[in-house]
Amino acid sequence: MKRQTVPVVLVALVLLAGCGGTKRKPAVLTDPAARPSAGAYPPATATPEPEQPVTEGPDTTAIPAGGPTGEDFTPNDASGENGPLEDIRFEYDKAELSDEARATLEKHGLWLQNHRTAKLTIEGHCDERGTVDYNLALGDKRARAVKDYLASLGVAGDRMHTVSLGKERPLDPASNDQAFAKNRRAHFVVSR
């Protein structure tokens, strides 16, 4: 299996934290323009996001309850679709992240850093060509693989929640290869 890639920001952070000497190669982010400064990226062990308004930090101000903020975003709609973070896809009967999936998750990691009030539900889905029990476990494995990778990018674990939907909520109900590919996914439901 291909070596896991790590975004340059995480490496920078690790170095700042005095844990240099890692042999892991920095990855090239697919969207360099979106790359924040290293200092904006908290370590994976960051303390949980406070529930009360944020009063300090380089890019935050106190958030009035329910009001607009400088980091506003549109959460997923009531159906759970049309959110700001695109799905990632999986191979049949697999929960491993492809290079393409990792690149997408790195973009998602940056977005989550820039939208620190956002909370994330990671849904693991499967296509219909599997048994119900095993697919529920496979969807769980997919969702947890995504959560673990986002955590490795510095997203605090308590902002993320996983749910397996197995084959119960296919994006495309058709029974063909195109639909199957769409339905083997991790889906992201963003809320405030």
Partner: protein, 456 residues
């Protein structure tokens, strides 16, 4: 794959019909009586034995000429015939031969008439509707001995005449060594009432023959994988109504459901122990999916598997001492068996690269496990229902060429299976005998109907 016969340890006959064991018991009863009394044995001691019994079930005769009584009789005739035939225990004189016989005198049947069409057992039913009450009378005669084998009167409300026939059928089957299934119910998941996306899936129960559907959950979330409690009063199931999937127990006669795995990660696939005191399920509480066992109220939860692979789909043995489950610890999903404390894990299935959803036959007469199997590797992915004999490890295929089928569950007497099959664009509940000879789609209603569990 060729179908192979299962042979239980107790019976050399691959498809025991009726009562080898009780035939011996009956002989003992008769010999005990022979020395002391001349009276014939009472009704409860006459037992239907032998595989060649041919039933005649003539039309129910209304006790009054009113339309309500006639209509009740029509329903009872049809349902009773269906119920008795479904059991697969008896042969039947074709109804087309009845019209050639003189009219049946229900008080004093001419047994020679019925012998002439090959009947050994005659089932006479009479019914009357008076006000809101229906009374069904059933008499079962041995044509050969001219003795009454069963005589019962069933009074009740007229709401559901089918239930009268179901009770009568079970009482007739009780004359054999088996317990009938006519009064049993099947729980399942359906999207039939989902009106807008995301489509909710709710739990329903139906009579074993697909009639009399009742909706159990009403929350427009996902409610899947129902499992009956042994007393038939509760359903454990997986629900997403609180966001994360959790095990709920619905007390169906009280109309309430309780989450028994609160705060325990995500939990799926509950299964009641045979004594109803414990529930096994799969949960990711400690990281990956493992099998857990808790008391029926959720207390005392303990993990009984510990493996980096997926462990899910627990199913209890009829003794409660073992649990079958699914694991991909060896690379592909396969069926394993362990004792109910999690020790002594051994792999059961070796044929195919995807086996899931074990269901242990509840009858000690048939030591076997049904499961979902991908038997034909290569080509489009499709699943069938298979049964593995625990003594010989022989696998027999129950479904073939019906589209993809999955999620088997046994009738309480272990003689039939229910599962769901994709036919065309929808999934439907399907019932089969344990050999896969008689397979029928259940008329369980609209929508996709999946994940059946056959209850008491």
């Amino acid at each position: 794959m060729a179908r192979t016969e299962s042979r239980s340890r107790l019976f050399s006959n691959p498809r025991p019909r009726v009562a080898l064991v009780l035939a011996a018991a009956l002989a003992a009863v008769w010999s005990a009586r022979a020395g002391s009394a001349q009276a014939p044995p009472s009704n409860s001691q006459i037992i239907i034995t032998g595989g060649g019994q041919r039933f005649a079930v003539p039309d129910c005769i209304p006790r009054a000429g009113d339309e309500a009584s006639r209509e009740a009789c029509r329903t009872i005739t049809q349902v009773l015939r269906n119920d008795l035939k479904f059991e697969g225990l008896f042969q039947f004189v074709p109804e087309s031969l009845f019209s050639a016989l003189p009219p049946l005198n229900p008080e004093n049947p001419n047994f020679e008439d019925w012998r002439s069409v090959g009947a050994n057992i005659l089932v006479i039913t009479r019914a009357q509707v008076t006000g809101g009450e229906l009374v069904l009378e059933v008499r079962v005669f041995s044509v050969d001995s001219k003795q009454v084998m069963l005589m019962r009167r069933y009074p009740g409300r007229t709401d559901n005449p089918r239930s009268f026939a179901h009770i009568a059928s079970d009482d007739i089957v009780a004359l054999t060594q088996y317990r009938g299934v006519a009064r049993t119910k099947i729980a399942f998941t359906s999207d039939r009432d989902a009106t807008k996306p995301p489509r909710g899936k709710e739990l329903y129960i139906v009579d074993y023959d697909g009639f009399n559907a009742k909706r159990i959950t009403v929350n427009n979330s996902l409610n899947i994988l129902p499992a009956w409690s042994p007393d038939g009063r509760s359903l454990a199931y997986t629900s997403y109504r609180q966001g994360s999937p959790a095990i709920f127990v619905a007390r169906i006669f009280e109309g309430r459901s309780d989450n028994i795995t609160k705060g325990d990660g995500q939990a799926f696939a509950p299964s009641f122990s045979p004594d109803g005191k414990q529930i096994a399920y799969a949960s990711n509480k400690t990281g990956n999916m493992e099998i857990w066992v808790a008391n029926a109220d959720g207390s005392g939860a303990r993990r009984i598997t510990s493996n980096p692979g997926i462990d899910t789909a627990p199913a209890w043995s009829p003794t409660g001492q073992e649990i079958a489950f699914n694991s991909d610890r060896a690379g592909t999903p396969q069926i394993y068996v362990m004792d109910s404390e999690g020790l002594n894990v051994r792999r059961l299935t070796t044929v195919g690269n995807w086996n899931d959803a074990p269901a242990w036959n509840p009858s000690k007469e048939y030591p076997e496990i049904a499961y979902t199997a991908r038997l034909e590797v290569g080509g489009p992915v499709s699943f069938d229902i298979a049964v593995i004999d625990l003594a010989t490890r022989q696998v027999r295929q129950v479904t073939s060429g019906r589209g993809s089928c999955e999620y088997p569950s046994w009738a309480p007497n272990g003689r039939h299976l229910v599962f769901s099959c994709r036919r065309g664009n929808t999934w439907q509940i399907t019932v089969s005998d344990r050999e896969g000879r008689a397979i029928d789609t259940l008329s369980a209603g609209a929508g996709n109907n999946v994940y059946p569990d056959w209850g008491p």
